[in-house]
């Protein structure tokens, strides 16, 4: 990287991506609940209205269906809307506009109309948000053909992937692990919080760059097993692998759809063992798809059953947050299971 960098947390990186695109392209509009004057409840759009004007960054009614609906119409009309849904838990009123419309407009019109929009929304737990501020609904979107689903795990990727999402000519769900906004989180809530201030991945290039979709980020290299994770769980994986004393190939999936299955297969073929992590509930989570694909591609290399470590199949409880969250202990148990079998 030759471009000068600035230390940013994930909120700043996201804001910077928006700022870069808004500065470059007058077709980029940013809107959502409380994103305008106030700058968003997580501050991801702070200052954008002041800098780019009332018409480019504005508040919407509390109507996720309406927010996605206008985004579809604007995108079809040549703009590049970036809509924020305040919490992913509140995206469901917009689900029809996403799954039936944004994802289908290109197909049903055979390319006559398209919907190049981006929907940003925070996912995941770890802030005592309970059942309705903690969900990770990525699997509900990876099942919808026509959508792309992206989850960054760090400021560098967040900025590059978000710029890529805005420039992409297809609709993109951009899911932001809220627990990572201010720092990496290794899954232990009792340790003091770590910030991005000193982290390498917090060194974010100024200006424009992209991180391509359909690629993984190799987080660590090892021969013992492959760990597939994304979002917050990448950091938990790193911590748990260290504690468990294993050398893991940790792949940050980051682009769930389209998926870089080649990189994943190569790793599993090398290690022969695979652990899949996500915070979302287990049944029909994206881990199921990863497990099925790994087994399809690497069956004869697998030395042990693939293990999924996930949130439980319950709503995200409030007081039992850390009993629900797939923290280091659960991951270490999973690592042991993968390593001991076969």
């Amino acid at each position: 990287m030759s471009a000068p960098t600035r230390q940013m947390n994930m909120i700043e990186a996201i804001r910077d991506a928006l700022d870069v695109k808004m500065s470059q392209d007058p077709d980029v509009l940013v809107f959502g609940e409380d994103v305008g004057y106030f700058g968003g409840v997580f501050r991801c759009t702070a200052g954008l209205q002041e800098k780019h004007g009332l018409h480019r960054c504005f508040d919407t009614p509390i109507s996720e269906g309406g927010i996605v609906g206008i985004a579809v119409g604007m995108a079809a009309n040549g703009l590049r809307p970036v809509a924020e849904i305040q919490f992913a838990d509140y995206i469901y009123p917009g689900y029809d506009q996403i799954a039936s419309e944004a994802a289908r407009l290109r197909y049903r019109s055979n390319g006559d109309f398209t919907a190049p929009l981006t929907i940003r929304t925070p996912v995941g737990g770890g802030i005592f948000g309970g059942t309705t501020h903690s969900q990770s609904p990525e699997a509900l979107f990876t099942h919808i053909s026509g959508l792309k689903t992206i989850i960054p795990s760090n400021p560098y990727d967040a900025k590059g992937l978000l710029i890529q999402a805005i420039e992409d000519n297809d609709p993109v769900l951009f899911l932001e692990p809220k627990r990572l906004y201010n720092g990496p989180f290794d899954g232990d809530p009792h340790k003091p919080a770590v910030s991005w201030a000193k982290h390498e991945l917090g060194q974010v290039p100024e200006g424009h760059y992209t991180v391509p979709f359909e690629t993984v980020r190799q987080f660590s290299e090892g021969d013992d097993l492959t760990i597939l994770a994304y979002g917050t769980m990448v950091w938990v994986a790193e911590n748990a692998a260290r504690e468990a004393g294993v050398n893991a190939d940790i792949l940050d999936i980051r682009s769930l759809l389209p998926l870089d299955i080649d990189a994943i297969s190569a790793s599993v073929k090398k290690t022969g063992r695979c652990l899949i992590l996500h915070e979302a509930t287990r049944t029909s989570g994206f881990g199921a798809e990863l497990s099925a694909q790994v087994a399809e591609h690497c069956f004869f290399s697998l030395e042990a059953p693939i293990v999924r470590v996930t949130g439980w199949d319950t709503p995200y409880p409030h007081a039992q947050e850390w009993a629900f969250f797939p923290g280091p202990k659960r991951v270490i148990n999973g690592i042991r299971k993968v390593m001991d079998a076969g």
């Binding site: 269906g65 206008i70 079809a76 506009q97 407009l105 019109s109």
Partner: protein, 413 residues
Amino acid sequence: MSKTSNQSRLHIPEPPFRPGDTPDYSYISVPTAHTPPRPDPLCDDYDTMEHALGLIRVLRFNGEAVGDWNPQMPLDLMHKGLKDMMMTRAMDDRMFNMQRQGKMSFYMKSRGEEAVSVGHAMALKNSDMVFPTYRQQGILINRGASIKEMMCQCLSNSGDPLDGKSIPVLYSFKKHGFFSISGNLGTQLIQGVGWAMANAYKNLDDIASVFTGEGATAEGDFHYALNFASTYRAPCIINVVNNQWAISSFQGIAAGEGETFAARGTGFGLATLRVDGNDLLAVYAATKWAAERARKGGGATLIEHFTYRSSGHSTSDDPTKYRPESEPDIWPFGDPIERLKMHLIAIGEWDEDQHAALEESCKKEIRDIYKSAEALGSLSGDTKVDHYTMFEQVYEELPRHLRDQRDLFDEEL
């Protein structure tokens, strides 16, 4: 039916007539002249309160065009409007019959509602994007879309611009300002508002015009559309085509029994008009008014087009199962083609022979176009659609997993 069994306090609305009943619509008041008056298009929204409850009409049944709302339409335009409506009907009839012969999977007619689509389109600019339902084919015909392409779409054949991807009548014609029709009711409403917001943002003069059936106003998207249109003063028209029926459900299921659909807009500070949808001049006039209001920054207008769905919901539907067979004929607002014809005759610019000749020539034109369309394939023979196209336009480019699946598909053949 034992309506009294299990009586409870729960009120369930019912239509006035069911099969076996003799429909009598004399309780519907048909204003004989125009009512209410035409305010300035930039008036306060309150000034259209009565318009939400009344009914804007221009054409009397005796053929006279009267009142404030009379658009004084030039003669050539009226003739074009008449022909467009007749072409629409001729095409509908032909396609319906061809569906019955197995040439296509499905078809939907707009019989009785031709004035809504044609009259509306006549009052817009072609660059105004329309967000239609499946019952506004008249807009495409008015705007000069290729009828052959439309037919090929229905036939899902090699001439289908959509490559067979969509079911019949779900057209998409960007070049004619006609948004891709969704099979999911209502979704286009808020999208159209978003399109209009984008126009305003880009400082364009164009507006959007969105349509829904009265039944689909119950979807959340209708609410979103009214709300966002109001908040951002989006330059658009929101049209509710109240054709009395939503498949088998009468309009009272969507409306509750008390109110008009136009009145749904009053609580949002939108202008609201209710118009005789079988009166092409009234539809045209109301649309002109709303388009001017939107273009000049006055914001959105909600127009209820009061009309009647004379045919079944679609080729899958038999309306005599749930409404009296004679109801379409008894409907007090007449037929939109008849009404305009009467007017042209009344002013001495048309006669029965000319009309019969035009009807014949429309039929023939449609028959000829249809033949050339069917030559490109149909469901009863070979649709001649390339199967591989089914993998295209899911995304701009084929991602890895779809390339793999295309290869798997190869193995199957």
